[in-house]
Amino acid sequence: MAKLAGAVNLSIHSVPILIVSTIILFIGLFVLIQNRKSVSNTVFFLICLCVNLWLYGSAFLYPAPTPEAALRIYKSVTFLGVSFVATMVYLFSVVWLKLARSQKGYAALGLLGSLFFYLSGWTNRDSFPGMYHYFWGHYPHYGIVNVCFLVFFFGYFFAAFCNFAIAYRRESSLILKTQIKYIAVAFVISFMGSIDFLPKLVYWPVYPIGYFCVFIWIMTVAYAIVKYRVMDIETVIHKTLMWAVLSSLVFLPIAAGFFFFKELFIQMPPALSSVVGVAVFWGLMIYAKRIQPWIDHFFQRRKYDLERVLIKFNDNLVHLKGLSELVAYIMQTMRDVLYVDKVHVFLKSGNERRLVRVDAVKDGLSELSADETFIVWLEEHDDVVRVDFIDIDPRFEQITKQARDFFENLGIKVCVPLVLNGELMGLILLGQKLNLKIFRAPEILFLSELRHAVTIAFSNSIRLIEMQQSLRRWNEELEEKVKQRTRELEEAQKQLIQAEKLATIGTLAGGVAHEINNPLTAVLTNAQMLKMAPHTSEDVECIQLIEEGAKRCQLIVQKLMKYARKPVEEALLSEIDLSRVVESVLAFLRYQLEQENIKVSAVLSSSLDPVRGIGNELEQVVTNIVLNARDAIKSAKKTGIIAVKTYEQNGSVCASIEDDGVGIPEENLSKIFDPFFTTKDVGKGTGLGLAISYGIVEKHGGRIRVESEKAKGTRFTVELPKLQRAGNPV
């Protein structure tokens, strides 16, 4: 050490190197004290230390009094830094990019290699075969062993660069990508410093510029640390420390200038020295007035940012209406401002006691119960909670475990409740910061202020959605009502058309009946007259056939006339129990139907309100429909069931007659009530039964409905209005 101390000598060329290496050491230390436990911080510090040793060594190496002294300095100090720096850079890439699992072997090998080359510098003559004079001082020659070292050195540097390049390509987070980019670029710049190795191999008079490249590297890394929060450095950097570092950038060159050129100043004419003095003073003034506030602002930009973000955030909230838009904006703001690894947004679902996750990323829990102890606490206290405070804040005494579990289960660090009028509307949950640091007071304050605006924005958005939903619902209801009314209108119109048609047909039928009646009467009367006189048996048969034909015509005409008749007289109307009407028809027809293997099931209400009508006409209606049902069954199969029901519905008394016969094809449904429409064989039906029934029911103020499915059956429903009594009901 005594020898080393004796060898200390400085020249003007050493000054920039000393300044740069001191700054590098400062920055390395600064990074280290931010988080001593962090491996990447430690490794970064070790890189700075290696660079510092290299440069400090160089500063003393060049102006050493003898080549031996210079070699000793190089072997002990400079080469210690040089031999480890590439390995450290590689180690940094491994640690910072979290590649330790797969690459720890190479890292260990690198450290052993560095140690080996460092030690061989002392023990192996082939490491440094000699020294030569170079520009402004002594410089070692690299022997064969150190040529191997250079291969090792570049190999590890290249490996580190590859790690950065691969990580850059794989990384999807924009922030991390930018961080990697800066670091990688910085290391490439520092790699340029290795140009200093050239003169050690061949005589090539290159001025040593390695320190300059390293200076740029360190500044780039520093910039990345500040701007992109590389490594575990809080962005609210301790102002004093940074101020000292930055001011030293300005003051150290000035101080060094004074130190080295003091002779010059002393010899200067007084006028010139006062001009220089004023110039320096003005320079410092400008620094103090202009640059220092800018630097302050630059390093305090975080606080400034938080305020600006809050203002911008509030402004933007006004324009955000959609819930998803709002959630996305909140998440983006949280990520941009606080650099958190995850943001979860939960919102209360309607009136239920649960919170549903609304952010798009679907990992972890998608739902929380609003009755969870901690969430109930949040609703009551309406305060931003960070995990670190749970153990120390007395307010959590009763619920420490629940609160801890809540944070742990969700993997979050901060919980921001959104409470409006004492009711919890939602939660914003923030994960860890990317730099692993805790949330600081200004950030909590920021969140605390932000949440009021967010709460109101969510409330508005939800209300808007609710309003839109109810509007949509009203629209749908209205549409449904319009549709229903349209259907009813169409139905009414159909009935009206049918009624009109039947009325026209009725008039027509009346006319026709009258016209036919006269000749028919003549035919019948004359045939009967002929019958009275003696004839041959053949003649009698002929006359009988004429009479029979005429009688059938008579029947048709009579039915037609009945159909065409106008409303009956009030006097003929009486109170009628529809069940009894149906009962009497069934009593009359049951035997006949059973003979034809048709079962009749009747469910007749015994407590029907009476209707006003003509009993035998209604009987005729029921008879008609039942007989039609029989025909429908018989034309499809041998047996069947006719189900008859009477009941009350919507102020009407109804009788439904359902068969399981052939059914009515849809195209015929609109025609079945038309006179003379029949699908029965010629001579089997007149096609007047349903037309007459329709007329009768209409005359009673009721209606006949028909529903039919082909091959399944048909249901006729006769609806008659309940009798409106003037007095009290009986």
Partner: protein, 136 residues
């Protein structure tokens, strides 16, 4: 009633339909009645003024005077043949309710819907004329 021969009952048939008047004439004449035919209300009125009848068989729907109007006019006629109680059988092919109601105020001996059986007509005629005779 002093005439030696049993006086044949006189029936006036009023119908615009010729085949019917012919047919009914034949039927009633065969049954021993004296049948007169008017082809509308006007004619019937004229004939009733000249002759006296025991029964009128009258169609309701006719051109010009209808059956009800015709009968009213005949019954309210003055002169020696006037008979305010002249029995009538209305026959109709088709009539609306109003006309039917009006017809019923005239207390007809019968109301037959065309077409009807001969037996019905003959028995109704016989019945009416028997009643009328016993009333006399």
């Amino acid at each position: 009633m002093s005439e030696p021969k049993v006086k044949r009952r006189r029936i006036l048939i009023v119908d615009d339909e010729e085949i019917l008047t012919k047919t009914f004439s034949m039927l009633l004449e065969r049954s021993g009645y004296e049948v007169y035919v008017a082809k509308n209300g006007q004619d019937a009125l004229a004939m009733a003024g000249e002759e006296s009848f025991d029964l009128v068989i009258c169609d309701i729907r006719m051109p010009g005077l209808n059956g009800v109007e015709t009968l009213k006019a005949i019954r309210s006629g003055s002169g020696e043949n006037a008979n305010a109680e002249l029995p009538v059988i209305f026959i109709t092919g088709f009539a609306d309710e109003k006309t039917e109601q009006e017809a019923s105020t005239l207390k007809p001996a019968g109301y037959l819907y065309k077409p009807f059986d001969n037996v019905n007509l003959l028995s109704l005629v016989k019945e009416t004329l028997t009643d009328e005779r016993s009333n006399c």
